[in-house]
C-alpha cells in the first residue's frame, strides 16, 4: 500500500492492467495502479512489453485488411431482392395473373392437341377401323381415262381398295365367284381394279365379245387369304 492506495497484484494486472487505457470502466486511479505495478514487477513489465509487441502485430494485421470493402455485386444482389419484395402490389398481381393465364392457355392447347391427335389416329388408314371388312385406299391409274384416283396407302399398282362401309352401293350386289364362300370374307377387303372386260371370263362371268378388249373397273371382294371371293361392276 502506498499513499493510502492498495497496490495491484499480478493477476489483476493481467486482467485489468494490460489494456487499462482502452477500458473505460477502469478509473484513473486504477490505471495509475497498473502503471505502478508494472514499474515494480519485472514479470508483469515483460508481459506488458510482450503484449505491446503483439498489439503492434495485430495493428499491422488490422491495417492490412482495413481497406477491405464488400464487393459491389453483393449490393446489387441485395437491392435486387429488395426491389422484388417491394414491387408495387398491382404489378405483382398482374404478373401473377399473367403467369396463371399462360399456364391455363398451355393446358388448353395441350388438351386440344391430344384430343385432335386421338381423333386423327382413329381416322387414319393405319388405325383401327370400325366395320368389316377393313380396307385401305390406293391410287389407281385408269388406263381408259388417263386419270388417277386418290389413295392413302399403296397395296397394288393398279388397284383401289375401298372400305366396304363407304361403298355407294352398300356392298350387297356382289356376284359370288365360283368355288368361293362369302362366310370366309369377314376380314376381307374390297379392291377396285382396272382390267380388260375379257378377264371377267376367268371368273366365270359372261363377256360380250364386241367389247371384250375394253378396259373396265370392277370391285373385287378379296378374302383374308388374298383370293377374290366376289365381284361387282361399280355404277
Amino acid at each position: 500500500m502506498r499513499n493510502g492506495r492498495v497496490d495491484m497484484n499480478c493477476e489483476e494486472f493481467e486482467i485489468l492492467g494490460l489494456d487499462s487505457q482502452r477500458d473505460a470502466s477502469i478509473s484513473d486511479d486504477g490505471r495509475e495502479r497498473a502503471v505502478q505495478h508494472a514499474r515494480v514487477c519485472g514479470r508483469c513489465a515483460a508481459l506488458g512489453a510482450s503484449w505491446a509487441a503483439a498489439q503492434a502485430e495485430l495493428a499491422a494485421l488490422a491495417e492490412s485488411s482495413r481497406i477491405l470493402r464488400v464487393p459491389a455485386r453483393v449490393e446489387t444482389r441485395v437491392l435486387q431482392q429488395f426491389r422484388l419484395k417491394h414491387q408495387p402490389r398491382q404489378e405483382r398481381r398482374f404478373l401473377q395473373l399473367a403467369t396463371w393465364g399462360l399456364a391455363a392457355a398451355a393446358v388448353i392447347v395441350c388438351t386440344f392437341g391430344v384430343w385432335d391427335w386421338h381423333k386423327w389416329r382413329q381416322g387414319s388408314p393405319g388405325g383401327n377401323i370400325a366395320g368389316s371388312p377393313t380396307a385401305a385406299r390406293n391410287e389407281v391409274p385408269n388406263p381408259a381415262t388417263g386419270s388417277s384416283e386418290t389413295n392413302a396407302s399403296p397395296v397394288t399398282d393398279d388397284s383401289e381398295i375401298l372400305m366396304a362401309g363407304n361403298e355407294s352401293n352398300g356392298g350387297n350386289d356382289f356376284t359370288q365367284l365360283p368355288g368361293s364362300s362369302l362366310q370366309e370374307v369377314e376380314d376381307g377387303a374390297i379392291v377396285r381394279v382396272g382390267m380388260e372386260r375379257a378377264s371377267l371370263a376367268a371368273f366365270g362371268l359372261p363377256v360380250n365379245e364386241d367389247e371384250a378388249s375394253d378396259w373396265i373397273q370392277v370391285d373385287l371382294l378379296v378374302g383374308s387369304d388374298g383370293s377374290a371371293q366376289a365381284v361387282r361392276l361399280p355404277e
Binding site: 499480478c10 514479470r43 510482450s50 449490393e75
Partner: protein
C-alpha cells in the same frame, strides 16, 4: 422524402420497410463494410464473408420487423445475425485453416507493397502477418470475436459489449483469455519463452 447521411438507423429502417430503396441503400452502405471485415476476419475467407453479409441483409429485407428498437441498436442487431451466420459457416467448413487468403483473381491477400519496402522486407512482413492471422483464426470462436472487435476493429470494451449483447465483464474476461492464448501462439512463433502465467489456467 430526402435522405440525410446522419439520419438514424431506426428511421432509415422504417422507411426501407415501406419500400424506400434509397433509405435501404444508405443503411446498407453504412454497415456493410464493417460487417464484411468482421466476417472476413472471423472466417478468413472473402467468399465466406461475402456470402454472410449478403445473408444478413437479405434477412433485413425479408424480415425488418425482427429488429426491436428496445433490445438494442441496429448495428448490434446486425452483428448478432452476422455472428450466427459465422457460427453456421464455421460448422459447415472442415477444420483446416488456410494460411493464405486468396483474392478473387487468385493473387494473395494481405499487405500492399509500398515503395519504401524491399521485396525481402515485404515478403518477411507478409509472412509474419499471415502467421498472426492464422493465430487469430485458431482462437476459439468466442475469444476470437472479442479479439477481432477490440483489437482489429478497435472498438472499446463498451462498444464490443453492446455488439455482442453481453456484460462488459464478459468482454474483459474473454479478451483476457483470448489475449493469453494469442500471446502464447505469437511467442511460439517468435521462438521466445512463454511468460504468460495464466495460459494453463
Amino acid at each position: 422524402m430526402k435522405i440525410r447521411q446522419n439520419d438514424q438507423d431506426e428511421e432509415l429502417l422504417k422507411r426501407s420497410a415501406k419500400g424506400d430503396e434509397e433509405a435501404f441503400t444508405v443503411l446498407y452502405r453504412r454497415h456493410a463494410d464493417v460487417l464484411y471485415r468482421f466476417a472476413f476476419r472471423m472466417t478468413g475467407s472473402s467468399w465466406g464473408a461475402e456470402e454472410i453479409v449478403q445473408d444478413v441483409f437479405m434477412t433485413l429485407v425479408r424480415e425488418p420487423g425482427k429488429y426491436d428498437t428496445e433490445r438494442g441498436t441496429l448495428p448490434a442487431f446486425l452483428f448478432g445475425i452476422t455472428r450466427n451466420k459465422i457460427m453456421k459457416y464455421n460448422e459447415r467448413l472442415p477444420r483446416e485453416i488456410s494460411l493464405v487468403e486468396r483474392q478473387e483473381d487468385g493473387s494473395g491477400g494481405g499487405l500492399t507493397l509500398r515503395d519504401s519496402f524491399t521485396p525481402a522486407m515485404w515478403a518477411e512482413q507478409r509472412e509474419r502477418l499471415e502467421k498472426v492471422r492464422a493465430a487469430v483464426m485458431e482462437l476459439p470462436i468466442e475469444f476470437r470475436e472479442t479479439v477481432v472487435l477490440c483489437e482489429l476493429e478497435e472498438m472499446t470494451y463498451d462498444q464490443a459489449a453492446r455488439m455482442l449483447d453481453c456484460p462488459i465483464g464478459t468482454i474483459r474476461s474473454r479478451l483476457h483469455r483470448g489475449r493469453a492464448l494469442l500471446l502464447a501462439k505469437l511467442e511460439m512463433l517468435r521462438d521466445a519463452p512463454r511468460r504468460w502465467s495464466s495460459v494453463a489456467r
